[in-house]
């Protein structure tokens, strides 16, 4: 009874603390807004957000420092459902969700929604198949469950390696995001930004493990959701007249449809698109015989300059011809580089594809492949969600099974708030670009566009190709990340809101990195060191080994991130496919099918991951080069499914192999049957206990 009472008052206290905290944060933003009006410079607003939020997370980390095992690994198992939901939300939503998602939706329209659906619908699987059962099992890591259910160190090791593989790929992307945000908003160098952010991550997870990470993630969720919603609500008020544009942007979507038609038919747009088509065609022709094309091009320019001079043409024409000659590539290799670039212009020669139309493609076959790939991404993101260890681990931290179930609801609710706003933002931003930026004159671009073009040409680049002084849509090159970053300025909000957005992006990246690092360090410290190497280690030693490993992993991840590895989106997608193929079949069959046994699980996990990796290696260009695969891609492609969705094959294969091999080998022992019954019922009289303390 006293325990029940203490949990109730604990929850109440938490609510009070976080309400005060959220109020304090809003007051802080308002204070900075006033300071901005009084002349505080942008640089200091950036610093104020960066250091005050990181300092705050550090403070929470220090306040919840711990050396107790259950506190370090699972936050003492007393995180109420509501707060675990917020923490999971922050854990889940990464820099990619916060900064990149709306941009992806802007650029790919309907087809980008595969990620929105996949990254939310996966929680249905978490709720129905995993969270309550894992909570009843109640240990520390996901390999713990595999080890206990199937027995032996082989499956535990496989689980541990899979956990490390998916989480490491993912954490590198997060730390990269941290570096990007800090450097963009404070002017610090990228490398320094990475290590400032790393400090913020470490002070939390290092001192207090899961306990500190949980309470920091709740704080980070509050900041990130305020930061995401504020500018969108403002922009939505401007366009739709109501403060919840999420429900009213259908009208805006219709207007975009009309603008798309207008832009497709506009003669000036057609002119620019034809310009690109011609250039691409010329480049293709030149690349067939580069040496000849180079010589011809050069002599033509030389002849023109000489002719003009000979004909006593006006001075400005002569200078122009000489300039053109001087700008001509110095040798054939340089010219080839230029032509290869021009070849890419073909992509810009197409009219805008309609935003709301699913699966665009040149013919029915291409459209059907696009549809299969859309569903493939949805499938892999969903099952990957339900298999990523850093998310599943969060459901070990609730007080009981009952709250674990409710906690999945709160998790998805808090994630939903951001994910149903992202498509809204994409549409509102597109309308702004199509209606205000397109058709404006180069002399008077909208303020935000003029500013961002200077800040970062990779995010926004507008060039007057047909020299008519008017912006055509085809002349705009836009990087996805700008959608979230520039929204405050598009909405005409003061700079302080831009700082707020940066703080939100930082919170998203830090919270996810925290959860992932902890997963990796725990896999090594708990599963490898304690369970396999030294089962007699004292609790103090176990925690300090985990902490030391955390530090090492963090440094390796930061080093990898500072190398700026490309293709982060592919890597993140690959992590989902791998997680789906490795963990999901073994975990779910372990709970729902008593007959599943050790050999089935070992064979199934290996087959799932193995096939997934094989498909990626044979169909993804970068990996093909790395492994020296020379046979054509079409030999390996199955139904045109992209390598990112390899889990579509890996997961069913893993399931089938577990079933077949289990049936061919002896049934598991009696105590395994008992374990399965144990996790299926929240409470049984005379039940065994598996909860680790």
């Amino acid at each position: 009874m006293s325990q029940a009472f203490s949990q109730v008052s604990f929850t109440q206290q938490l609510k009070k603390y976080y309400a005060v905290y959220a109020g304090g944060f809003i007051a802080f933003v308002l204070l900075l807004a006033v300071a901005e009006q009084m002349g505080l410079s942008r640089k200091y607003i950036g610093y104020a957000f960066l250091f005050s939020t990181i300092g705050l997370y550090a403070l929470i980390g220090i306040m919840s420092r711990t050396v107790e095992v259950a506190e370090y690994y699972v936050a003492g198992r007393r995180v109420p459902a509501f707060f675990n939901g917020m923490a999971t939300g922050a854990d889940w939503m990464s820099a990619a969700s916060f900064i990149g998602m709306a941009g992806t939706l802007y650029l790919s329209g309907f087809d980008g929604l595969a990620f929105v659906m996949g990254w939310t619908g996966g929680y249905v699987l978490v709720a129905l198949f995993l969270a309550p059962y894992l909570r009843k099992f109640g240990q520390f890591t996901i390999p713990d469950f595999l080890g206990a259910r199937y027995g032996g160190n082989i499956i535990r090791t496989l689980g541990m390696l899979s956990a490390i593989l998916c989480s490491f790929v993912y954490v590198v992307a997060q730390i990269y995001g941290v570096g990007l945000i800090t450097s963009r908003f404070t002017g610090l160098e990228f490398g320094i930004g990475v290590f400032v952010g790393l400090g913020g991550i470490l002070v939390c997870s290092f001192l207090g493990g899961m306990r500190a990470v949980t309470w920091t993630q709740v704080a980070q969720y509050i900041i990130l959701i305020i930061a995401y919603l504020t500018p969108v609500v403002w922009l939505g008020m401007k366009h739709t007249g109501i403060p919840v544009p999420q429900f009213a942007y259908g009208q805006t979507l219709q207007k975009i449809g009309e603008l798309e038609k207008k832009i497709t038919a506009d003669p000036k747009e057609v002119e620019v698109r034809n310009l690109f088509k011609d250039r691409a065609a010329a480049a293709n022709a030149a690349l067939k015989d580069p040496n000849k094309a180079y010589a011809e091009g050069k002599s033509a320019l030389e002849k023109k300059a000489a002719d003009l001079k000979a004909a006593n043409a006006p001075a400005d024409q002569v200078t122009a011809a000489e300039k053109a000659l001087a700008a001509y590539p110095k040798d054939v290799d340089n010219a080839k580089g230029q032509w290869n670039k021009d070849k890419g212009l073909a992509a810009r020669a197409a009219p805008p594809s309609p935003h709301a139309t699913p699966f665009p493609g040149k013919d029915e076959a291409a459209r059907n492949t696009a549809r299969l790939n859309f569903l493939g991404i949805v499938f892999c993101m969903m099952f990957g969600t339900a298999a990523l260890p850093h998310i599943l681990m969060r459901y070990y931290t609730t007080p009981n099974v009952r709250e674990a179930r409710q906690s999945v609801f709160w998790s998805l609710f808090f994630i939903f708030l951001l994910y149903f706003t992202a498509p809204t933002l994409a549409v509102l931003a597109k309308f702004e670009v199509y209606s205000n930026l397109v058709g404006s004159s180069f002399a008077s671009l909208p303020a935000w566009a003029a500013a961002w073009q200077v800040v970062d040409p990779t995010l926004l680049n507008i060039t007057d190709f047909n020299r008519d002084g008017i912006v055509q849509l085809a002349e705009i090159v836009l990087g996805g990340d700008i959608i979230v970053l520039a929204t405050p300025e598009i909405a005409g909000l003061p700079y302080v809101v831009s700082g707020l957005v940066a703080a939100g992006g930082l919170a998203a990246a830090l919270s996810t990195a925290d959860g992932l690092l902890l997963t990796i360090a725990n896999a090594l410290g708990h599963d490898l060191y304690y369970k396999m190497i030294d089962p007699h280690a004292s609790t103090a030693r176990r925690v300090s080994v985990s902490k030391a490993l955390l530090l090492v992993v963090a440094l390796i991840a930061a080093y990898t991130a500072s190398l700026k590895p490309g293709n982060i989106l592919f890597l993140v997608g690959a992590a989902f496919s791998l997680a789906a193929s490795s963990f999901f079949p073994a975990l779910v069959l372990g709970i729902f099918w008593k007959r599943a046994n050790k050999w089935g699980a070992i064979a199934g996990v290996s087959a799932g991951v193995g096939f997934c990796a094989y498909y990626m290696i044979t169909t993804y260009p970068f990996l093909r080069d790395l492994f020296g695969v020379t046979r054509p891609i079409s030999d390996f492609m199955i139904m045109g499914i992209n390598p990112i969705s390899a889990g579509v094959f890996g997961l069913p294969l893993g399931m089938a192999v577990i079933v077949i091999v289990s049936l061919l080998t002896p049934a598991p022992e009696k105590d395994v049957q008992e374990l399965v019954e144990h996790v299926r019922y929240p409470h049984l009289r005379g039940d065994i206990s598996t909860e680790a303390t």
């Binding site: 109420p80 929105v116 129905l128 259908g250 709301a356 699913p358 569903l375 009952r402 409470h683 049984l684």
Partner: protein, 88 residues
């Protein structure tokens, strides 16, 4: 330990509700996605329906599925006397 018939029934009911909710999940995810082009010819709240479902409608249904499952199971625990000791 031996499970009573009542325990077996609890588990069967759990499997049944899980299956029903999975069917709903499958329809609003994969069937909806497969027919998105066709659904787009219907207008709903000013949106083409296929777009609306993928951007918002299916998401709302996911949230409701999870909410309902938690409520249903937490009640079922009490009905079959397998609930945990009261903590909250």
């Amino acid at each position: 330990m031996e499970l009573s018939a009542k325990h077996q029934e609890y588990w069967r009911k759990n499997l049944l509700i899980t299956a029903i909710l999975m069917v709903i999940w499958f329809i609003v995810t994969f069937v909806e996605g497969w027919y998105a082009r066709e659904l787009n010819s219907i207008t709903f709240l000013g949106f083409p329906l296929g777009f609306y479902m993928s951007a918002q409608g299916s998401l709302i249904i996911y949230v409701v599925i999870i909410w309902y499952y938690a409520r249903y199971m937490n009640k079922l625990d009490n009905e079959y006397n397998v609930q945990e000791e009261e903590l909250t």
